[in-house]
């Protein structure tokens, strides 16, 4: 295995080199890709499809390392503190608040996206989500990797109705009292769910420019807090407590303890049915006003020992081919702009069988709400803990 100090793996980056030179430079090197390791399908895709292709095409060895983002950042921070110039991480799977913080603290390399031929070729460079990540300017420090969107799941055999907005959702919870809940914030999915509810009640535009101040935010979302407290009465365990992770919510749904689950993977229903953990009757739904969606990205560590290799790999990842393959294998929404694709490529995307129980890509994208600025999210999470958990309206 390559170790940190293997000199042949450390590749100096010439800032003026064009992409072909980068490809040349990257040949024969190893690129490490750090990201969450709890998705076996993604691990399989990266190792079985992407890695061999990179090997064949560029003679690059891709090393996928499963690690939570907080540990990745801790690691980068430690390396920075120790003054390590050649670190151990090349590419990082990242987004939102973590990107914001990493960039703020000068842990990321960039801008680099402008150097990637496929960035211009396939990505809609004017897209909100390509310019901003959770409201924070990207400025070329990360390239889109996949699109996610919050969706809700129910079992049509158990609950035929699907609430289309917060009001109907409240009715739904009343009807299935004690059988709905969401993961406690700051769980990623639970947090997105609460934001979706907030959006539905107080709208989403105001947050883009909102000052990251607890009092301001609190005032803005007060009606939503009231709604959440009202909701508590009908939730599992009367909203006194919430499962710690969305995984647990999902398990409870699988076992029939809950009648509704949610996922940040828009095709979760299809994946689950295919695995066999969901009944065939499980269906996806979203609110009419939409649900929050975000894009996840790949960034390069500031002290990456192989920036050239990383850029070559990222370029490959944002190619239509890889995105299509990923769409087929993982059912993540592709980040390439449909308009920019050739007919052939379009056909390949169109052909993908998105599986059972899910919504079409068009429908999802049409009901997609932008994420809040990164620095407001923790404030909401804090407020939720203080004002919602176990609390009821007088």
């Amino acid at each position: 295995k390559a170790s940190l100090n293997d000199n042949e793996n450390i590749v100096e980056l010439d800032p003026n080199a064009d992409f072909d030179a980068l490809v040349e430079q990257a040949r024969g090197t190893t690129v490490t890709f750090y990201g969450w390791g709890g998705d076996e399908n993604r691990n399989r895709f990266l190792n079985e499809q992407l890695a061999p292709k990179l090997k064949e095409k560029y003679d690059i060895t891709l090393e996928v390392v499963g690690m939570d983002i907080d540990n990745i950042l801790a690691k980068l921070a430690g390396e920075k503190q120790a003054g390590l110039e050649k670190g151990s991480i090349d590419m990082i799977w990242i987004n939102g608040e973590n990107f914001y913080s990493a960039k703020e603290n000068d842990l990321l390399f960039g801008p680099f996206t402008h150097k990637l031929p496929n960035f211009d070729k396939y990505i809609d460079t004017e897209d909100e989500e390509v310019l901003y990540d959770f409201g924070f300017p990207i400025e070329g420090y990360e390239a889109p990797y996949g699109k996610a969107q919050l969706v809700f799941l129910n079992d049509s055999a158990v609950t035929p109705e699907t609430p289309r907005n917060t009001q109907e959702f409240l009715e739904f919870c009343k009807k299935y009292k004690g059988k709905v809940t969401y993961a406690a914030l700051p769980d990623f999915t639970g947090s997105a769910f609460v934001r979706t509810l907030i959006y539905d009640i107080v709208g989403h535009k105001q947050f883009l420019t909102m000052e990251a101040d607890k009092e301001v935010v609190k005032e803005a979302i007060e009606p939503a807090l009231e709604y959440l407290r009202e909701l508590n009465k009908y939730l599992w365990n009367q909203g006194k407590t919430f499962p710690a992770t969305n995984g647990e919510v999902d398990n409870m749904f699988q076992d029939g303890e809950l009648v509704m689950a949610m996922s940040y993977g828009p095709y979760a229903a299809a994946v689950g049915i295919e695995k066999g953990v969901y009944k065939d009757t499980v269906r996806t739904f979203v609110f009419d006003n939409g649900t929050v969606g975000n894009t996840n990205y790949i960034a390069i560590a500031k002290n990456s020992p192989n920036k050239a290799g990383a850029m070559v790999v990222i370029n490959e990842i944002i190619s239509a081919e890889t995105q299509a393959a990923q769409f087929e294998a993982l059912k993540t929404l592709p980040v390439v702009a449909y308009d920019k694709l050739s007919d052939e490529e379009k056909a390949r995307f169109d052909k993908v069988d998105i599986g059972k129980g899910v919504l079409s890509q068009d429908e999802l994208l049409s009901k997609r709400l932008p994420e809040m600025p990164a620095n407001i999210v923790p404030i909401i999470e804090e407020i939720w803990l203080e004002e919602v958990v176990g609390k009821y309206n007088e």
């Binding site: 939570d68 907080d70 950042l73 801790a74 921070a77 430690g78 920075k80 503190q81 939102g96 608040e97 973590n98 914001y100 913080s101 990493a102 703020e104 603290n105 004690g178 406690a184 700051p186 365990n237 006194k240 407590t241 919430f242 499962p243 710690a244 992770t245 647990e248 398990n251 409870m252 076992d255 029939g256 303890e257 990164a374 620095n375 999210v377 923790p378 803990l385 203080e386 958990v389 176990g390």
Partner: protein
């Protein structure tokens, strides 16, 4: 023999000890707001003060103490009973010991998995009661997980710690019982009395040490409380973990300050332990070697 010998013998542990202390000091300094990587360079007690002053701190502390004290005391008591059971029924080696080792081996994350599949309202226990007609819906089953009574966490700890206490104190108790326990019975003490007056007090050093280990462990660990605990109040280590994974890296000193407080309290516990055990030693000679 040789004056140098002991120093050679302790060399590795001293080296590791120095590394350890260096690491801890390096970590603790972050809690005073010194993380140059994030441009935090001013040493101050602010983080500690803010953590202590935060409205949730006391509740968190209470929860943590509640979980760790109850689970450790119960584990010590049940573990002692288990040790006694092993000793008095003559199972000081063999298959049962292997089973007991099995429990020590399982990581806490897997224990959380067990707890959920057995103790949740949807778990096997609930299902069993349902099949037996004792409850009619999942909601009838008492909530043991994700709740403020923390029963699920405590049971999870017990599952691992009772065997640990037994494994840790077995050999001492077995050897005491063989000689002194026998003598006490011969002098007219019933089994129970001989256990209470002789075997138990003399096995105490091992039991107390095991108790200290599990107490400080459960006070500082976040796995079980995170996975099985109530949403609020969170146990201190969970709170520290949440702060630690806070996306704003400049938030780190809060996490470290909380950990610093945990450290302080565990050292306090250890200090009390050493005080008590030393006082006993002064009073009662060499108890440890019965």
């Amino acid at each position: 023999m040789n004056k140098k010998t002991p120093y050679i013998l302790i060399m590795p542990i001293v080296l590791l000890g120095v590394l350890f202390i260096y690491g801890v000091a390096n970590g603790i300094i972050q809690s005073f707001g010194y993380i140059p990587a994030f441009n935090l360079r001013d040493l101050s007690l602010d983080y500690y003060i803010k953590v202590i002053k935060s409205p949730t701190f006391l509740d968190s502390l209470k929860v943590t103490l509640h979980i760790s004290l109850i689970s450790s005391i119960l584990a010590a008591v049940l573990g002692t009973i288990l040790t006694a059971a092993l000793v008095y029924t003559g199972h000081t080696e063999g298959k049962i010991i292997q089973v007991i080792k099995l429990a020590i081996l399982i990581p806490h994350t897997i224990v959380a998995l067990f707890s959920i599949s057995i103790l949740s309202q949807n778990g096997l226990l609930a299902r069993l009661l349902y099949k037996l007609g004792i409850i009619s819906t999942q909601g009838d089953f008492p909530l043991l997980l994700y709740t403020k009574n923390n029963i699920g966490i405590i049971l999870g700890y017990l599952w691992k710690e009772v065997p640990f206490v037994a494994y840790f104190s077995l050999s001492l108790m077995a050897s005491i019982n063989k000689t002194l326990g026998e003598a006490a019975e011969n002098l007219g003490a019933s089994r129970l009395k001989s256990f209470i007056h002789i075997t138990l007090p003399l096995s105490m050093p091992a039991i107390a040490k095991a108790f200290l280990i599990i107490l400080t462990f459960s006070f500082g660990a976040y796995d079980l409380p995170f996975l099985l605990g109530a949403t609020v109040p969170k146990a201190l280590p969970v709170q520290a973990h949440v702060e630690y994974i806070h996306p704003d890296l400049r938030h780190r000193p809060y996490a470290m300050a909380m950990n610093g407080l945990i450290l302080l309290i565990t050292w306090l516990m250890a200090g009390i332990y050493y005080l008590i055990s030393n006082r006993k030693k002064l009073k009662g000679g060499s108890h440890e070697r019965a």
